[in-house]
Symmetry: C2
Subunit: 638 residues, 2 copies
């Protein structure tokens, strides 16, 4: 029995109502559970990009492909590309981004050939520090022609597996490679199988195979593995043929033979990319169906070649792609083990979750259940915020097309915001697909408020964040639902915008009528802060009630972190918008003026069961501004 | 700025959304706030009882009079009654009970005359340890006729005030006594005023006066105090005349003179208690009205003589009695400073809150926001539970009249439970006013379920705790409301009962149909535990949403503490019921049989927006038991 005063770390009690066992379990446990339940999975393999913009694209792809529900993704190790470095294109950083920012269970490849133990240990320590928990242990290709075994060095993947287990005990889940037709350098197929058995015996938890073209190749391989006592999961590597040249190149590298029946189909259509891709999808689907039907295959591993169309299509046809992914929380959960209990965040970063994760990456504890002392107001410095994956995905010229080559006045800015909301093209014929505060199109939830948002943006209420009030919708609701089945979700209406100081003066007048129903925080770039909320008390604006659990309240309006968000929100005017224009240009001066003089306002309507009153607040503000007060005063004097 | 990892103790952030500043503020701050807002208060003085049963009665009176909203109560110090001891009747224990179990801000009197510094310090240390924060510092009456000042001893209350401030710095709020007509032993009125000024200058925070009979006496006294520079609050001591003899005795003790106009009214009716009390109420009301109207009186202090009728009537007529007290939480909050952040408790002790407080009094931390690792499953031993204020308020013979002098069978027990629910008299003509698990009449909230409860108790579902589902009622709702204004409260339907193992077998069959809507825990006295809930995950069954705050979830069904409650719930059959009967008597054997063989069941309907399905669950159970299964089986064979 526990004694009073034991710390949470030592306690066997849940300190959090973890919504999803998947968030905390190890990859091997997740596999075990899926195998027991007969629930087939898929996983996706990517290689690191060559360029920074390639990295930005790959990360967007992670987000999109992550929504389909892969059990894990893996990132290959490119020995020639400084794979363990801090470069934004390194294997290490790409895998870390997948875990931390995209919330994906990730496996980092690691090759040991020609490496010192110290170097390997350093890589593993770094991976651990970054939150990676799974390693694909490979020998890798020797450098140079005349490779010879080194005594005491890493000669085989088995040596790496042993090293990981020896140095890191049980910390990492380990994957090893299997070769359904034998490793090209192996003395024999049987010999190769024995090597695989050695790797597993050394401590590997599962096997992913090299690609192959016939289901029976894999099934015979599994049978042979089982015969010599390999019992761990064996996942077939699936390669949907996506083009003639990529196939040729891969075959050459992997020293595989493409079966005659496939070459006969492909050769005649080798210049027709669409036809080849279509064939590749069909061929992969048929093979996968045979594999899954065999009962020997718990999950499929896809070699994506960093492309998404073919793989997604194969998965769709197999019924493995999650068309309507359930969200465990209303925001994207990070997969870093340190953050596994995290279940509360300030609403301000709703459209910039990666920025929030980045700025809080050094926290030791994460808010859990309540936004309180467990959260630290020590947000990372804003000077770091231009880290590559926090930047806009769009190049400068696209931004200029969307946000205006030349701004005439503040009204031009109102138009940009309005066009973003409505999705209409601007006078130069371009759609505004993003804003500095929203790198993606409107969320489906925000779409519910589209008409009202359009109206107020047109008049200079420059909205950057909002949510409708929700009075108990099922947790399965396709737009606002999140969390486990059988629950109910709730929201208080929220609206956040930039607006002029004239508007703020009128707004403050109007808000008196809405006490205590509406809470507000109003702040300018200098930090002048006007609020009617408790200075330390957060306001829960999203919460959910679920069977057999405590209440989850995943988003709050927190007065302290709003001041950190404020710095970021104002800085985005400068970093993303002002910098598009020439020094001293009128466009630049207009944005700079807004940055210097506008206020950032957030409003919460606490009375969530009623229709939101926030639109009426704005209406009242405009009515007050429009009222002929001067005239009235003159009138009363006459 | 705070750094990551700082503990809650050092953090300036709220670790809890404390609902009510009154819960955490010091008495002097509460007074200050009430004075500033012009919100008059009252306080109540009691003396310690002579007997244990007197103590039980007084504590019930604390609960009743506490509901009217006194700012504080105070307990006098009886030097001859071992006032600092652990006896249930000591001043110390009565004041401690008021704080800890009745949640009342309490002032403990302390007299210093003929006491050593060590003794006084020991008393103060003990008071502090018990959660007392306020001391009324008095000289007390010297023992013996020929009292002389001791050098360096406690000769005056001023010495005690100085000692408290010297030894305990600012820890205690200190009250001192004022004498509107001068202390009987004082050389002169002016001299007495100077003594009072000394006491205040030594560190007292407010003054309570001796009783008086004319408003102008007090108002002149306040004026004189202000004139010599006494600025702290001065509270008039109000004594509603309640009887001829008590008046005479008090006057004799306090050496006060009763004004002629009062004696003239009272003497002729001195044998008519009702008439005197009625006059006393009228006289007190009129005097209080003058006092309050003067603008000099922020609050009234009542000498209750441990009676409630007259004082409550005066307060009602003055409009100071809180007719519909707002509950900060759905359970009675303890006033111990260590518990000030506590805002979650298991629902099991809903009818035995004092037992819960007692059994958790040694906890260092209290659950705050979430029932998790901050709560300790180390509940106090059950062997202590017979502590006097956890016992039934009723004497043995009353219990026998209610629960049956002689039980015939289990059905007799069902009848007792049913009569408790319906409020009907039993065959011997007595109403069942309490049960071992419920020392009071049905809560208004439980009354909402009366018809269903009656039906199921009649058939052997022996309910001991229940709540209806509530889907968002205003926090001001007179029956189920709690917490600050402008909020909404919610509940999941809950039902807890003892029932036979046959019923449990059928119930378990039926409950399969209600997965995952209904969570259950079913346990017998040996601890055999059947549940479909997570073994560590509490289920929030009462929660509230308030303007500008995080979610409050004050009651949970917690699997771990249910096992502690189970021991208490089963033990109450033995301690309170079995022990009423002779050894080996049939009545005793029936209760013992139930104790040994019945199960304790709790059910939660998670789907709070729908009508509770728990009654249907019970219906289905009875239907299954009634179904002619044996007949059907025979039929199918024929």
């Amino acid at each position: 029995r526990l004694k009073c005063g034991e710390s949470s770390k030592e306690s066997s009690r849940c300190s959090t109502p973890v919504l999803d066992a998947d968030r905390t379990d190890r990859l091997r446990d997740k596999m075990k559970r899926r195998i027991e339940s007969g629930d087939h999975w898929f996983s996706l393999e990517f290689f690191p990009p060559r360029t920074a913009s390639g990295a930005v694209n790959l990360i967007s792809r992670f987000d999109r492909m992550g929504s389909g529900g892969p059990l894990f993704i893996d990132v290959t190790w490119h020995p020639s590309g400084d794979p363990g470095s801090d470069k934004e294109t390194s294997s290490m950083m790409i895998a870390s981004t997948a875990v931390n920012y995209c919330g994906l269970e990730s496996v980092l490849h690691l090759t040991c050939c020609n490496q010192t133990k110290e170097k390997i240990t350093a890589h593993l320590n770094k991976a651990k520090r970054l939150g990676l928990k799974n390693i694909m242990a490979l020998r890798g290709d020797p450098i140079g022609e005349d490779w010879v075994e080194e005594d005491g060095g890493f000669n085989y993947a088995t040596d790496l597996v042993k090293h990981i287990r020896c140095e890191f005990d049980d910390y990492f889940d380990i994957c090893v490679a299997g070769y359904p037709t034998g490793h090209p350098e192996a003395e024999s197929y049987d010999n190769d199988l024995r090597h695989l058995k050695e790797k597993v015996d050394a401590g590997a938890h599962f096997i992913v195979t090299q690609l192959f073209f016939r289901a029976e190749t894999f099934l015979r391989f599994v049978k042979d593995c089982r015969a010599i006592g390999i019992t761990c999961p064996i996942l077939p590597g699936i390669f949907p043929i996506q083009g003639y040249h990529s196939l040729r190149q891969l075959v050459k590298l992997s020293k595989l033979e493409v079966p005659e029946e496939i070459m006969q189909v492909i050769e005649p259509i080798k210049d027709n990319d669409a036809a080849i891709r279509s064939y590749g999808i069909q061929q992969a689907v048929e093979m996968c169906k045979v594999l899954l039907a065999s009962g020997e295959v718990p999950g499929l591993h896809f070699y994506t070649l960093n492309r998404e169309v073919a793989t997604i299509e194969v998965l769709r046809q197999l019924g493995l792609w999650a068309e309507d992914p359930r969200r465990p929380l209303p925001w994207a959960v990070s997969a870093h083990p340190k953050r596994k209990v995290e279940d509360v965040r300030p609403i301000f970063w709703a459209s910039r979750p990666k920025s929030y994760i980045y700025r809080t990456q050094d926290w030791d504890d994460f808010p859990n259940g309540r936004w309180g002392n467990s959260s630290s107001p020590a947000f990372g410095e804003l000077t770091d915020y231009y880290l590559f994956y926090l930047k806009s995905k769009s190049p400068k010229e696209a931004l200029l097309q969307m946000w205006g080559e030349e701004l005439m006045n503040e009204g031009s800015v109102y138009e940009v915001f309005t066009n973003y909301i409505t999705g209409q093209t601007n006078p130069s014929g371009h759609k505004v697909m993003c804003l500095p505060w929203n790198d993606d199109a409107l969320a489906p939830e925000t779409n519910l408020l589209k008409d009202e948002l359009e109206k107020v943006n047109r008049r200079g209420i420059l909205t950057i964040n909002s949510q409708p009030n929700i009075n108990g919708k099922p947790s399965s609701d396709p737009i606002v639902g999140w969390g486990p089945a059988g629950g109910y979700v709730f929201q208080k209406a929220y609206l956040e915008f930039f607006t002029s100081s004239e508007n703020v003066t009128a707004l403050l007048q109007v808000l008196k009528k809405y006490e205590p129903r509406v809470n507000y925080h109003i702040v300018n770039v200098q930090g002048k802060n006007i609020t009617n909320a408790h200075e330390m008390q957060p306001n829960a604006v999203t919460w959910g009630i679920f069977p057999g659990r405590e209440i989850i309240q995943p988003t709050v309006v927190d007065p302290v972190s709003f001041m950190y968000w404020k710095d970021e929100a104002f800085a985005l005017w400068i970093e993303q918008w002002v910098k598009l224009y020439e020094d001293e240009s009128p466009s630049r001066m207009i944005i700079q003026y807004i940055h210097d003089n506008y206020f950032l306002v957030n409003l919460v309507d606490n009375d969530f069961p009623l229709d939101s009153c926030l639109w009426q607040v704005i209406e009242d503000m405009f009515a007050l501004l429009d009222s002929p007060r001067a005239t009235q005063e003159e009138g009363s004097q006459s």
